[in-house]
């Protein structure tokens, strides 16, 4: 890979990492969620710094072209990530429903108590 391209890619990866850390610092992302993103950023830089790392691994694993391995790995990780998010989203929406229900039930009770139970038997 030409040096210019490598440098450009390392710079992009560095910006990527900075964006991630900024998001964490500002509290936009929970630490537990950010681990994946931090690792992915460092992984990119390591792959770029060590020459021929990717092509050697892909050769060992038997991919005909290194880019094939990259696509394969990236898509696999992306699927895992989406799956994980779907699970988390379902859990979250369940909790949301339960919260709305509890708040509404409580509001109903508070109103009743404020009205001195006179609306209890309508």
């Amino acid at each position: 890979m030409p040096l210019e391209l490598t440098v450009a890619l390392i710079v992009i990866s560095a910006i990527y990492l900075i964006l991630i850390f900024r998001a964490i610092k500002k509290g936009k992302m929970q630490i537990s969620f950010s681990i994946f993103w931090i690792l992915s950023g460092f992984g990119l830089i390591i792959a770029l710094i060590i020459p021929d790392l990717i092509s050697k691994i892909s050769k060992i694993l038997g991919f005909s072209v290194p880019s094939n391995m990259m696509f394969c790995v990236t898509i696999f990780i992306a699927f895992l990530l989406i799956f994980d998010l779907t699970v988390k989203l379902s859990k979250e929406s369940k909790r949301n429903i339960s919260l709305v229900q509890e708040i509404s039930l409580l509001k109903n009770r508070v109103e009743k108590l404020e009205n001195g139970e006179k609306n209890e038997k309508v």
Partner: protein, 235 residues
């Protein structure tokens, strides 16, 4: 026996007053609670103006979440029987004794008002597509549980204290009517059906649109099959 009518209402300004008035005319004694599922129309105002007992959900949850709120209310307030009764005027309050009877006698934990059990008595049996749909759902439930439910999408149903507890903890969100039946069967509780007739919708739009029914059927079938994996083993 303390009985509670749970009336879920979403954008039912045209029907809700009628429904509640009919219930009050039927019996002053009966307890009911309207669950206003974050309606965008004047439903809430009507409920307030007419002094109708209601719980106002702060966000729209869909029919499953709304009905479950009613079950939670029933559980907290110690009701023995909870009856889901739609706010759109489809259900007939005169069937109340019939639908409670199997539960009071201890024959069943859940009793469903079926439009199809006795074909002659029901005037409103809905469209061909919906009948086909419910036949497929029935068939799947029959395959998985060897139990015939003639009207799995009926929203007119009574449940006893045990199932109130079950439903207040866990109630399906996506397709609550057929899925809740499957959940009850999973726990090996008994379900009975009684024949009821339902009225044509008096207003508003049905939550199941005919154009979407094929897709709906596919998803419901899948949901039931997935739910059936949680069947409890006989000990």
């Amino acid at each position: 026996m303390k009985v509670l009518l749970i009336i879920p209402a979403y954008n039912e300004e045209e029907n809700i007053l009628n429904t509640v008035t009919t219930i009050k005319e039927y019996s002053e004694e009966i307890d009911y609670i309207v669950i206003n599922d974050g309606s965008k129309d004047n439903t809430l105002q009507i409920l307030k103006d007419n002094n109708i007992k209601h719980i106002n959900l702060v966000e729209n949850l869909g029919i499953g979440g709304a009905v479950q709120t009613g079950y939670k209310y029933a559980y907290e307030n110690g009701y023995d029987i909870a009856i889901q009764f739609d706010g759109d005027g489809q259900h007939d309050i005169n069937y109340l004794p019939q639908i409670c009877e199997p539960i009071i006698n201890g024959q069943a934990n859940m009793c469903i008002g079926s439009r199809y059990l006795d074909k002659t008595s029901s005037e409103f049996q809905s469209t061909f597509m919906r009948r086909l749909g419910k036949n497929i759902i029935s068939m799947i439930i029959r395959m998985c549980y060897r139990k015939k439910i003639t009207d799995p999408t009926s929203g007119f149903r009574a449940i006893d204290r045990k199932i109130i507890e079950l439903f207040s903890k866990e109630y399906p969100v996506d397709y609550p009517e057929p899925e809740s039946i499957v959940n009850v069967l999973n726990e090996r509780y008994k379900i009975e059906e009684v024949s009821v007739s339902m009225n044509e919708r008096q207003g508003g739009t049905s939550s199941i649109k005919i154009l979407n029914s094929m897709y709906y059927m596919f998803k419901v079938s899948l949901a039931i099959l997935i739910d059936s994996l949680n069947k409890k083993k006989v000990k």
